[in-house]
Amino acid sequence: MDIIVCMKRVPDSAAKITVAGDAKSIEQDGVDHVISPYDEIAVEKALQLKEAHGGTVTVVCLGVAAATKEIRQALAMGADQAVHLKDAGGNRGPLEIAQALAGVIKGRACDLLLFGKQSIDADNGAVGVMVARLLDLPVVSLVAQLDVADGRATVHRQSEVGTEVIEVTLPAAFTVQRGLAEPRYPKIKGIMQAKKKPLEEIDAPAPAGTMALDKLEPPAAREGGRIVGEGKDAVGELVRLLSQEAKVLS
């Protein structure tokens, strides 16, 4: 079974994010980057499926030159090979990203195509399903359980309203969420083998320029809390504020 996983390099969620002087990007100094956590879950699931059923795992990453670090991380976890679509800069919307990814995936052996449900920086949650559409593959999003047998996948799609159990014929694409798999720590041997694994580098197509990032602003600082009273005496005022001001009670 050949599995392709798309992964993105994102700032570490523990990093302190500040807006750079150009007001269009984030300050890169001192910011660690990681594989976007949902993508990392997809990599882990791919490795587990490969260990159970055999086959190959290929990771595809559209990212700046420095994304080699995150690609090596996926190889150290156990992926067999990688494709780095090198991004020289410029803005791309989800569709453009999807087109670039679909361009390199097309024609490669692929029974399962996995994505994180969204990246933790852009948070669009759009690329996975778009790539599937561009490649004419069936797609299930928000997958929290995934089993494969006899050329079919049985998946649990978990959303706010409940769990849908869906059966899909392979090849198919899936966007995955927390709970599907717990990413492993790269092992010493895996790390040492990672640098010898094939890493194909391809220049990403130049952005079409249809989308421009105008301005980046940090979220407004949160206001401090308010103590409205103590003990029983505070209940009346608290209920009034919750219903009239915060409007969370009716």
Binding site: D12, A14, K69, R72, Q73, A76, Y185, P186, K187, I188, K189, I191, M192, A194, K195
Partner: protein, 387 residues
């Protein structure tokens, strides 16, 4: 809040991608698997046995050994592993140091082919645990005075004596016991359960509480002829092992210092007294500046030591300087941080006191501070001051 590892001189840039990845993988593992429970283990006086399989799975046991299913990792990456483990706890790092540097390394260097085949892959997988029996109740800094003796018999050897302060001693499947045969020191592999061989845990420690420290008692212990190390005799055997392990301790002590520094730095930023955070006080800033300087010096020394080792140029005296310097300053840093955290610093909610107590052992074992001073004194002057 995630740990921010101090790297004031951007030494990260001097590491290879592989070295950084190894460090980061172990750092994440320590954060998620060691730190949540280590304080409880420390208070209970137990070693977290459940972590052995995970450390083996990561490949940390004997990671520097080449061949016999071991990864053959370079000395800088190996040092970084130990630094990160001791950021968690000196007991965890001690476990890995003993297994890798004091048992697997000598088996690899001095053992027979059969001994290597039998023990190295199993020890790397964590299926067999080892300990190193050199120190005795009455012979610490002076191992040459050891009283444990071996006698040749028709079938092999018979061992008599006692070893003390042995890390991993009770849990070990195999003990590397150093004993005198006809007046010369030799290494013997003694297996758990051999009649007359007792492994007894030492209680009532105030330091390295999350570590198995034991006594080994050998009473007419018969071992087969192939239990002896064929490749070495004399004190240089155990001393060579110690050179390996001590270089790792220098890295480990730096890790403990980094943990304390990071904790104190955060604490003073938040702790408000007299209307503003302690971080803004000159006395506090002086301590932070001093500690960061010492940590940076340790890191520089360790990295250079690792590169020298890589090139096959590291000397035992350089190791002594690095071990001595790192342990001394790590202990001072732990004490200072304990002080900076005030009353909170004595609780298990914070790490500083645990590290501080651990470092009292780390500065003592594998060559006390004073012994390393004398090794350096000997190197500088050419005159031995030991005896």
């Amino acid at each position: 809040m995630a740990y921010e590892s101090p790297d004031f001189f951007a030494l990260d840039e001097l590491l290879t991608e592989e070295e950084r990845m190894v460090r980061d993988s172990v750092r994440d593992w320590v954060e998620e698997r060691v730190l949540p429970d280590i304080s409880d283990h420390y208070l209970a006086g137990t070693f977290p046995m459940e972590l052995i399989a995970e450390m083996a799975e990561l490949g940390l046991l004997g990671a520097g050994i080449d061949g016999y299913d071991c990864p053959g990792l370079g000395p800088v990456a190996y040092g970084l592993i130990l630094q990160e483990l001791e950021r968690g706890d000196s007991g965890i790092r001690s476990f890995v140091s003993v297994q890798g540097s004091l048992v697997m390394w000598p088996i690899h260097a001095f053992g027979s082919e059969e001994q290597k085949q039998r023990w190295l892959p199993a020890m790397h997988r964590g299926e067999a645990i080892g300990c190193f029996g050199l120190t005795e109740p009455d012979h610490g800094s002076d191992p040459g005075g050891m009283e444990t003796k071996a006698k040749k018999t028709d079938n092999g050897y018979v061992l008599n004596g006692a070893k003390m302060w042995i890390t991993n001693g009770s849990m070990s499947d195999v003990a590397l016991v150093w004993a005198k045969l006809d007046g010369r020191v030799h290494g013997f592999l003694v297996e758990k359960g051999t009649p007359g061989f007792t492994q007894q845990q030492m209680k009532h420690k105030y330091s390295l509480r999350a570590s198995d420290t034991s006594e080994l008692i050998l009473q007419d212990v018969e071992v087969p002829a192939d239990a002896i190390f064929p490749g070495v005799s004399g004190l240089k055997g155990p001393l060579n092992c110690l050179t390996q392990a001590r270089s790792g301790i220098a890295w480990g002590a730096a890790g403990a210092a980094m943990a304390c520094y990071d904790e104190a730095r955060r604490y003073v930023a938040e702790r408000v007294q007299f209307g503003r955070p302690l971080a803004g006080r000159q006395l506090v800033q002086a301590k932070l500046a001093e500690m960061l300087s010492e940590i940076t010096k340790m890191q520089l020394m360790n990295l250079r030591l690792g590169r020298l080792k890589e090139a096959g140029k590291m000397t035992p005296q350089q190791v002594s300087m690095a071990k001595r310097n790192a342990c001394w300053h790590a202990l001072q840093i732990a004490r200072t941080c304990r002080d900076m955290l005030g009353a909170n610093g004595i609780t298990g909610e914070y790490q500083v006191m645990r590290h501080m107590c651990n470092l009292e052992s780390v500065i003592t074992y594998e060559g006390t501070h004073d012994i390393h001073t004398l090794i350096l004194g000997h190197k500088i002057t050419g005159v031995e001051a030991f005896r």
